[in-house]
Structure formats: structure tokens, C-alpha cells
Amino acid sequence: MSELQAAQKAAAGIRLSFAEARELYETADLLDLAVWARQAKERKSGRDVYYNVNRQINLSNICTAGCPLCAFSCTSEARQAFVLELEDVRRMIEQTAATTKGLSEIHMVSALHPEKDFTYYIDIVRLVKELLPQVHLKAFTPVEIVHFSEISGLSIEQVLRTLQAAGLDSLPGGGAEILDDEVRKVICPHKASSAQWIETMKTAHRLGILTNATMMYGHVESIEQRLRHLFTLRDIQDETGGFQAYVAFPFHPDNTKLSDLPKTGSWEDLRMIALSRLILDNFDHIKAFWIMLTQPIAQLSLAFGADDLDGTVEEEKIIHAAGAKTKTRISKEDIEAMICESGYTPVQRDTFYRPVESAQLEKMEVGKNVK
């Protein structure tokens, strides 16, 4: 009886309770979940599926947090240690601008570097915006923002205001992992707590800085904790409305301190995408990150409620350090072909999910903003 109710609600697009979500996770047929999630997607974004042309930049891998879940971070003595100085970033941006037609976003996430001070990050933001004023800068997870607050003595709000004034446009949603401190104790004991992550997001939203939200699942968390995480995100969104998209990250264990854990299967990944689309009824977009899911599963996720394939990426270090076998870039044509085959319409978007018109593309054209 109650299962029928949960299913009926899912089918009708009625808000799910925690118990109902749990019931769907445990009992619903995978393709039934997909059908309901896809209906929910179509209520939000119709036949459109989004992607953007972006470039990922990691400023450094030298990190004081030393999270067991991470295969990317290292100490400054490690052979693979690197830090990009302003001149390195300048070169990288100029090169990207010259080779990436229609670039609309720089996505920058890094490490908690032991020596770089807050000024360094402000300078980086200024530099990126000076070189590419029309390109959106999405940078720094709440974990980094909390770190900036600690090293500068400024409040989270002051840090965000400072970065906003320097040109920061939005925040990515990373570092959320599972918003449960019991889990964080095991997978990332030395980085921002659940409360700090939530506070940073709410503050950003209040300042008009939109963000994404993520979940990294498939490690030590229980299904209960995983679903709670989604309900926490839904509650924040009810309050602020500042999340643009939700992105699920299946945990990649290779080369991490949790490498004996098995990787999640595609079945579980698609079930979570469908379920998140059903639970997060106040999120406009569900993103399927092809780097983590693999391209075939990312494409399939378009039938399971996802409406965004993220971007062309160009470079990716963090997930590949953890054993991802996917490519680090994909062409615009390939993304569009994946979307078209699914029967949906590809829409190249900017970070705010506005279609990028060809006129705008002209303006952003190769090197025009670079001296």
C-alpha cells in the first residue's frame, strides 16, 4: 500500500518524504525510477539537454587536508607536487582562449595549500577576469572558502565578498561528499565540516553567488546517510534557491587510502541519478558528469532524469588520479551527438543555463579578449 503511494507520488511529481524515498530506493524497479525521473526532467527542462564549453584548472595538488578519499592531494615534497603561479595561469588561460572556440566557463578547484595566502587567490581571480572578462569564473569549493577564512582571519562572508568583488562569478558544489560528520570523520577528517559547508553555501546564496551541489557516494556511507544528504540539500534549496544544479560523484577508490573499497556499478549510479531527480524537486538541473560515469553511462543517464552533461572539460586531474579511465576532454560535436541520439535537443549553455547564442559565441571568439 505505502509502496504504491511512493510510486504514485514519484509518477505524479509530488514531493517525496524521506521514508518514501527510502522505499523507492529499496523496492522500485530501475526502469520505473527512470521513467518517473525522466518525466520530472521534462517538467523542468523539456526536451533540452545542456552542456557547456569549459576548461578545468587545478591550481595545486599540495594540500594540508590529506583526505583518505583523495588520490590527488600530496605534500609539497612529493614528486608530483605542483603549484601554478600567476604566470602559469596566464599562459594556460591564453592558450585555452586561443584554442577553445566558444569557451564560456573556467572551472577552478584546487587544494588547501599550506603556504599560499588569500592574496594569491584574489590575484588569480583578478587575472582570470582581466584576461577573459566575458568568461564565467566558477571557482573554489566551500572547503577552500573555509580554508581562506582560516588563513586570512576573515569571516566566510568577508571572504566571499572579497572574491566576488575581484570577479568570482559562482561556486562549484564540491567538497560536500556526504554531509554527515560521522562519515566525514572517516573520509575527510581535516576539512570543512557539514555545518561549515552548509553555512558557506547559504552565505554565498545570500550574497547572490549561485552555486552547485554535489554528493560523493559509494564509500563508507549508509544508504540512510546518502539519502539524508539529498534531503539536506533540498532543505537548503527551499531556504535559499541558490543551487543551480546537483551533481553526483560516484567514489573512485583507486590510489586513495580507501582503495580496497569496490567501485559502484553503473546500475547504482543510474539509480542514484534517477532518485536524486525525484527527491530534489526544487533543483532545476541534474548533471551527469561523464568523466566519472563514463560516456556511455552519462548518455544513458539522459533517460534517467539528467539534463546536463557538464562540459568539454579539456583537462581533469583529480578524478583521473583516482583511476578514472575516461578521457579528459570531449569535443562539442561528440557531446551534441550523444544528446541527439537520446532524442533530446543539445543546448550549449553558459554557467547560468542560458543558451549561448551564436552571436555571443562570436564575441567570445578565439583570443579576442586576450591582448
Binding site: 524497479d29 526502469l31 556499478g265 547504482e268 556511455p296 553511462i297 544513458l300
Partner: protein, 340 residues
């Protein structure tokens, strides 16, 4: 049963989830338990010398080529010993069409294996059988009877590619044509030798040609009932003369679901993790597959085309259980021999 027209309509236009749901419902009806099977076997490619030179194949070498090889019998027996030691119950011996090996070579091989091992010999595709027969100047039926007597248990379904001569002439002009392939299968079934059937998609065939392929298999199955399973593979373009792109997993899953729906008279539909990877392999279980084939202790042919996925019994069991099914190891006849 679906008509060809209905099949084509579904393959071209039906929604992917609707196809999956219908295929899944039919699988559930045919296999009411929540069991998904796999087999532990080894592919032994006794030779890569082949006179056919198919354009989609990355494995063959002409005779005299520096990489050309023929495995000596002791090497084959060693591989089978390893297979038995690893819990394997089947060997799939396949090679090329070697111009100098005669029927006696194969009969000797089979007898030597059966003398030493209790193992199913699921070996030689229709293409090889026809070639053996021609080389020996015997009928296909007589050749099969001799092989059966020497120990051959069943035939794998390879070499079918697309059972439409227009496509075959383009991708494998020297290989046996449709009627010959079906004729070998019919002869095998007539002497009580069961087989599987395969289809390779992405060779430049049309959707209608895929349906034609399924129709030929379904029609023969109505007559003989000798096909145990149907397996769809996707063409692997790496290192082949034909080149090109592999078809998408989206297309693969749609086609797999349709194969379940179209061939109601074939009991087992196998999902191919070997050509699709374990992530899509797992998803085939939502789209009508009830079997994930073999963990394949050795697969030279697919590896030559640049696709190499590794599978172990543990990983296979995890893959099956991760989708809510119960994993079971089967033998060649699809009888369950071990549950997990």
C-alpha cells in the same frame, strides 16, 4: 510474435525505456527467478592464420606473416589444464581458416582433450566447419558427425555478423554467406548438436537488416529449436581494415532489448560485457539479458581490436548482485552448477 514490420518499427522508433521495460518483463516471464548466469571458460585461439581476411577483423594474419602462429597440441592441453584448475567448465576453441590444417588435425585435438579432461568443447564457428568440410571433401553433416564423435559438444554462434549478404559482401566478402551459415547451424541442430547465435552490430547495416538477421534466426529456431542463446556484439573498429566508429551503447541496449522481444523462442539473451565493458554489461540486465556470458580467461580476438576489459568471478558476481539479481555459474547447456 512480432512481425518484421513491427520489429522494425520498434527498433527505429520505440522509446529506450519502453523497450527496456518490455524486454525486462519478457525476461521475467521466461526466467521467473531473479537469477542471472555466467560461465567460466577459456577461449583458445589455436591459430591466427586465416584465408578470409575479413575487413572487420584485427586478429588474422596471412600465412608466412611474422606474427602468424599455430598452437601445438601440448600448448592447447596446457591451457585447458589451467582452465580446469580455474574452475572452468568449457573451452571455446576457435581459429582462422588455416589452409594447411586438415580435418584430422581437429579430430586429433578433440580426442586428446576428451581423453584427458571432463570439459565441454563449445568450439568452431560455422565458418570453420564449412571450411573443414570443403578441405576434407565431405558434406557438412558428415563433418559435424565426425567432430561430434571425436568430442565436439556444441558450436558457438560466431561468424554470423549480419546475416544479410549485402552487408557480408562489404565487410567479409570471402567469408561464408548467410545461407551457408544457417545451413551449418541447421545440420548441427539436426544431429543433436546445439549452438548459440550471434549478431554483430555497427558494421554498416541498416535497422531493417538487423531485423532480417533476427528473423532468419527466429525462423530456423522455429524449425529446429537448436539455438540456446542469442548474443549481440558491437563491432570493435580498432586495428581493423574496415575502421570507423563503434556504435553507441544507447544503440546497443535498444538492439539488445529488441532481440529479446523479437526472438521469443530463444531462451537466453546474453549481454556482452566483452564488447561493451562491465558498466554497460551490467545495464543489459535491465534491458532483457539473463546471462552475462563468460568471464573469459583468454580472449585474443577482441583484444586485438583494442578492447580489453577484465573480468573475474568475484567481479562478475558483484556486477550481477549490484543489480539486484542472484548470480549463478552455469555450464554450456545453461544448467546452474554453482550459486553465490
Amino acid at each position: 510474435m512480432l512481425s518484421e514490420k513491427e520489429g522494425l518499427e520498434l527498433l527505429q522508433r520505440e522509446d529506450i525505456l519502453a523497450l527496456g521495460q518490455a524486454a525486462n518483463a519478457l525476461r521475467q516471464k521466461i526466467h521467473p527467478g531473479r537469477e542471472v548466469t555466467f560461465i567460466v571458460d577459456r577461449n583458445i585461439n589455436y591459430s591466427n592464420v586465416c584465408v578470409n581476411e575479413c575487413r572487420f577483423c584485427a586478429f588474422f594474419r596471412p600465412k608466412g606473416h611474422k606474427d602468424a602462429y599455430v598452437l601445438p597440441l601440448p600448448a592447447i592441453l596446457d591451457k585447458i589444464q589451467e582452465t580446469v584448475d580455474a574452475g572452468g567448465t568449457q573451452v571455446m576453441i576457435q581459429g582462422g581458416l588455416h589452409p594447411e590444417l586438415d580435418l584430422d588435425y581437429y579430430l586429433t585435438m578433440l580426442r586428446a582433450i576428451k581423453k584427458r579432461f571432463v570439459i565441454s568443447i563449445h568450439s568452431f564457428t560455422a565458418t570453420e566447419i564449412l571450411y573443414f568440410a570443403r578441405q576434407a571433401g565431405r558434406s557438412v553433416r558428415d563433418t559435424l558427425l565426425l567432430l561430434q564423435d571425436a568430442g565436439l559438444d556444441s558450436l558457438p554462434g560466431g561468424g554470423a555478423e549480419i546475416l544479410v549478404d549485402r552487408v557480408r559482401k562489404q565487410v567479409s566478402p570471402k567469408k561464408i554467406m548467410t545461407d551457408d551459415w544457417l545451413y551449418v547451424m541447421e545440420c548441427a541442430h539436426s544431429i543433436g548438436m546445439e549452438t548459440t547465435a550471434t549478431m554483430v552490430i555497427g558494421l554498416g547495416e541498416t535497422m531493417a537488416e538487423r531485423i532480417e538477421h533476427m528473423e532468419r534466426i527466429r525462423a530456423l529456431q522455429e524449425k529446429t529449436g537448436g539455438f540456446r542463446a542469442f548474443i549481440t556484439w558491437s563491432y570493435q573498429p580498432g586495428n581493423t581494415q574496415l575502421g570507423g566508429q563503434t556504435t553507441s551503447s544507447w544503440d546497443y541496449l535498444r538492439t539488445l532489448a529488441l532481440s529479446r522481444l523479437y526472438m521469443e523462442n530463444v531462451q537466453h539473451i546474453q549481454g556482452s560485457w566483452v564488447t561493451q565493458g562491465e558498466r554497460i554489461g551490467q545495464m543489459t540486465l535491465a534491458f532483457g539479458a539473463d546471462d552475462l556470458g563468460s568471464i573469459m580467461l583468454e580472449e585474443n580476438v577482441v583484444r586485438a581490436a583494442g578492447t580489453s576489459y577484465e573480468m573475474s568471478i568475484d567481479k562478475m558476481v558483484q556486477t550481477i548482485e549490484g543489480s539486484g539479481f542472484k548470480a549463478a555459474q552455469r555450464d554450456t547447456k545453461y544448467k546452474v552448477i554453482r550459486r553465490f
